[in-house]
Symmetry: C2
Subunit: 540 residues, 2 copies
């Protein structure tokens, strides 16, 4: 690999020749620092090489083209903090800061590093639809950055266009990370997210060719854009219905820049006794359903949120001898790859590969083995309720808190401080054949009960919560009335330390009667205890 | 019409001849009171006439066949209190009462008269997924009948089978009202609802041939059963993808009984100034969207809940000169028929015709005119999120209360007393291209504000609430952060009498900060005022 220039290395290797001396085709951008390695490596085909630009100049060019627009909308690739653009957004942030402009940042989902860089530049006015960066989160919770979470499956082609038509008159720029760009389009890296939707909607497209991206990614993507009036023609987890690249009309690409760095998932924490108990309880429930003939032996396609408990669940499935499993999910984590390696998992469909280096390396070095087994799709396909329902997905998502009537809060602490956003849990819980929510019965050394009289924020109402699993037990809530749910949840899923407190609340609520007995004065007493005394059990 | 016997008239006209004397084919049921008029009228073809039975004996036969099962599940047709069975369920109630058995009653949605008859017999143990009968409601709110509402689109083929497999080992009987029964299947009356799903799932099927049903209904139905793994092949409002009857395997019909009576919607109340203001505000918003090129001139297919405001909305659309409209909705009300008559509405798809006698008569007496313009479908098609999204439906639903952050309560008064159930509002709000909620800014002479600090029950979380319309104004909430929503809703949609109270709450909540500022102690103060003092404005 001839590494002529990387913007990060502040020009140590730059060839002191005009680029036109080496390449016969004209370079649109004539600055010396132009990135030419992509062309040399074949990441950018010759006819597009003229679009390869240095990111700083390109950022200024964008600002100039937008004629000093005060609010600029940027839609980027990135999901699960994988595959987001790393080079261009910070430069755009700098260029905007100079002109007093501000950014509306739209991603697929989380884009940790990009958020960090943009927060540093203080140019983010609005952010959608999900984030996981502590500094961005703080700005949102302080009311400085305007944020609203959206269901990730609807977001790119339904919510975003409606919002943008009012905010910035449509999407100004799309910035998409690529492993390669061809004359037909963009081959993404290890996530697809909302990239294809942004490319469709944006006035200008900027491609970031990531020189570290594995060539093994090519052929793993299935880019399909849901169209109004047409069914999404997917019938099985491994169906391919689209293209292996994001199509882009030739004139839409304003520039191509280089980037570096592979996005990894963090090393999963070793499951403790609580996580193991949750996993075992869920496993027991699934095994019983199979035994009763209510679920097939290979289950239905699995969706699972990200986290230690979810890892523990997959581990338990593996150990219990489940075979022929499939996953229709947002993010493929290590545990799924392990299931595949051990022959328990046949197909995985996702929008992001959030793997630790070892597993990513394994996947990339065995392209033949995984070809056909892993499909990377846009999030408006993976999270599409139409497809989720058709495939009879079993959704397993984590709740922040659940109330005794089965309503789920997935996002807000004490009803107010957002953590990340609803993400895909609303898509999967709504579309699923079986919607399971999991949670530890208590958090913070028992100071917080995940089972509360009333959730302080509702993301998934009771209608879409079939089964609740904690380390204490399993509650199959299907068909139960709210009163029946309350009794079952208190006895089987709440932590023993909290059962009396919850029973007392429920008895008080019963005095007011009703289909869903509620005592309005006492609904948030546990939360007030937590807020004011640091422990839900410490009453005034 | 030769009316030989109607069970309601306690045998005045019975012919004192054995039925076999008149009919050459053997009658399975040899009781004297057998219903033969259906055969005479051709509502039941000869080979099925042997199944025509008297409802009382049939009810006893069912109880006998179920071998004294204590809990019997009955799935019936009926949606919008139209097309539910009128004859058999009360007799089954009587027969069960004798043996100490109880009923799990599953409908499509509301079945007012059937609920009334069953409540009278005191045999209902459980009821799903929606009801509108005050006596049934009281039993549910008192915790005597176990009830849980479900999204009507998911209910028949996803929730119900999962619930029934546990409760009664599958569906025991389906009772479906028919305008005619053929050897191939059942031609429904003026609603389809969950009838086809119950017929598919039930061990025994009972058909109620309604002798008053109009022959004009034949050909209006499009019976399609969504199948796992397959897209619903509907691409336009008027597409026909199924059969004009509910297919039934021959051996599954246990008996055919006669019924009488046409189900009507109530005469809609004349809209008052509040309803007119809501309708005008919504109309203004839609016109603006069309002007800005964000909606086509003929809009997208409309869904609308039932009620005076909704009627007023359609009237306003008519008067504003909208043309080429279509409706993809649950229930067709008078106002839609009027739109059609005046040439403003092209196609209507629904699962129930809830019309006043005059309009129903008009529709039935002009079958040629409406053929192709009105399609009656199962509720798992009309309320299917897959199709709703594909058709870009504009959903207009009524809220009981909305909070300053845009969360909607559609079902529970003071968080506890259920009114009817979530119905289709959750299906349409979730699947819609544009989800509008409407509400009067106050109710009960100003004693209740529909805009509250925090809703006491969440049916539709903020993510699925695009636009809020009251008599005070319109709030386009798309893309706004919760803080922005709060300010807008208080200023534009709340009633002036309540703005100060809401502002004070919001200021207090802001002290706690967060993405969604909440003051846990004060969130329900207005509701407590209402509960204890009868007026939200009367504080302690």
């Amino acid at each position: 690999m001839i590494h002529i220039f990387s913007y990060r290395n502040t020009l140590p290797y730059i060839l002191l020749l005009p680029a036109s001396f080496i390449f016969p085709y004209p370079l649109v951008d004539s600055t010396w620092g132009v990135i030419i390695v992509s062309c040399l490596e074949g990441r950018v085909p010759q006819p597009l090489c003229g679009l390869v630009k240095d990111p700083e100049s390109l950022a200024r060019e964008v600002v100039r083209l937008l004629q000093g627009k005060r609010l600029v909308s940027m839609g980027t690739s990135g999901f699960g903090s994988v595959g987001y653009p790393k080079t261009f957004p910070p430069f755009l942030g700098d260029a905007l800061r100079e002109t007093g402009g501000r950014l509306v940042v739209l991603t697929g989902a989380s884009a940790y590093g990009m958020d960090e860089a943009l927060v540093e530049r203080g140019v983010v006015a609005r952010r959608y639809p999900y984030q996981n960066n502590p500094r961005m989160r703080q700005l949102i919770n302080d009311g400085i950055v305007a944020f609203q979470d959206y269901h990730l499956g609807e977001w790119p082609r339904i919510n975003a266009p409606a919002i943008l038509s009012r905010l910035t008159g449509g999407l100004d720029i799309a910035v998409v990370e690529a492993s390669r760009v061809t004359e037909e389009g963009i081959i993404p890296t290890a996530s697809v997210g909302a990239g294809p939707a942004w490319v469709d909607q944006a006035r200008y497209v900027i491609v970031e060719v990531n020189l570290d991206a594995s060539p093994a990614l090519e052929g793993m993507h299935d880019i399909y854009a849901p169209k109004p009036g047409e069914p999404v023609p997917i019938r099985r987890v491994n169906d391919r219905v689209g293209l292996p690249y994001i199509p882009v009309p030739k004139g839409k690409i304003l520039g191509i820049v280089e980037s570096r760095g592979i996005d990894h998932g963090g090393e999963p924490a070793e499951p403790g006794p609580v996580e193991k108990a949750i996993a075992e309880n869920l496993l027991g429930f699934l095994e019983e359903e199979v035994e009763r003939g209510l679920l097939p032996k290979s289950l239905y396609p699995l969706e699972s949120g990200v986290g230690t408990v979810n890892d523990a669940v997959f581990k338990a499935l593996r150990e219990a001898g489940f075979r022929g499993l499939t996953a229709w999910t947002e993010v493929v984590q290590d545990s799924l790859i392990q299931l595949y390696q051990e022959g328990a998992m046949d197909y995985m469909s996702c929008t992001s590969l959030m793997l630790t280096p070892g597993n990513l390396e394994y996947l990339y070095s065995h392209p033949g083995e995984f070809k056909g087994a892993v499909v990377l799709r846009p999030q408006d396909v993976t999270n599409n309720i139409e497809v989720i329902r058709r495939l009879r997905v079993i959704a397993i998502n984590t709740a922040v808190e659940v109330d005794i009537y089965g309503n789920v809060n997935s996002t807000h602490i004490l009803g107010s401080r957002i953590i990340n956003g609803i993400g895909g849990s609303g898509d999967f819980a709504r579309g699923a054949y079986l919607s399971v929510f999991i949670a530890p019965s208590t958090r913070k050394n028992g100071r917080i009960s995940s089972i509360v009289p009333m959730v302080t924020h509702v993301d998934t109402p009771d209608h879409d919560v079939d089964v609740l699993v904690t380390d204490q037990g399993v509650c199959d809530l299907r068909g139960l009335s709210p009163r029946e749910k309350a009794e079952l949840i208190i006895e089987k899923c709440a932590h023993p330390d909290y059962r009396d407190l919850l029973r007392k609340y429920y008895e008080k609520a019963l005095k007011y009667g009703g289909h869903v007995p509620v005592s309005l004065e006492d609904a948030f007493t546990l939360h007030v205890n937590l807020r004011d005394r640091g422990d839900m059990r410490l009453g005034a």
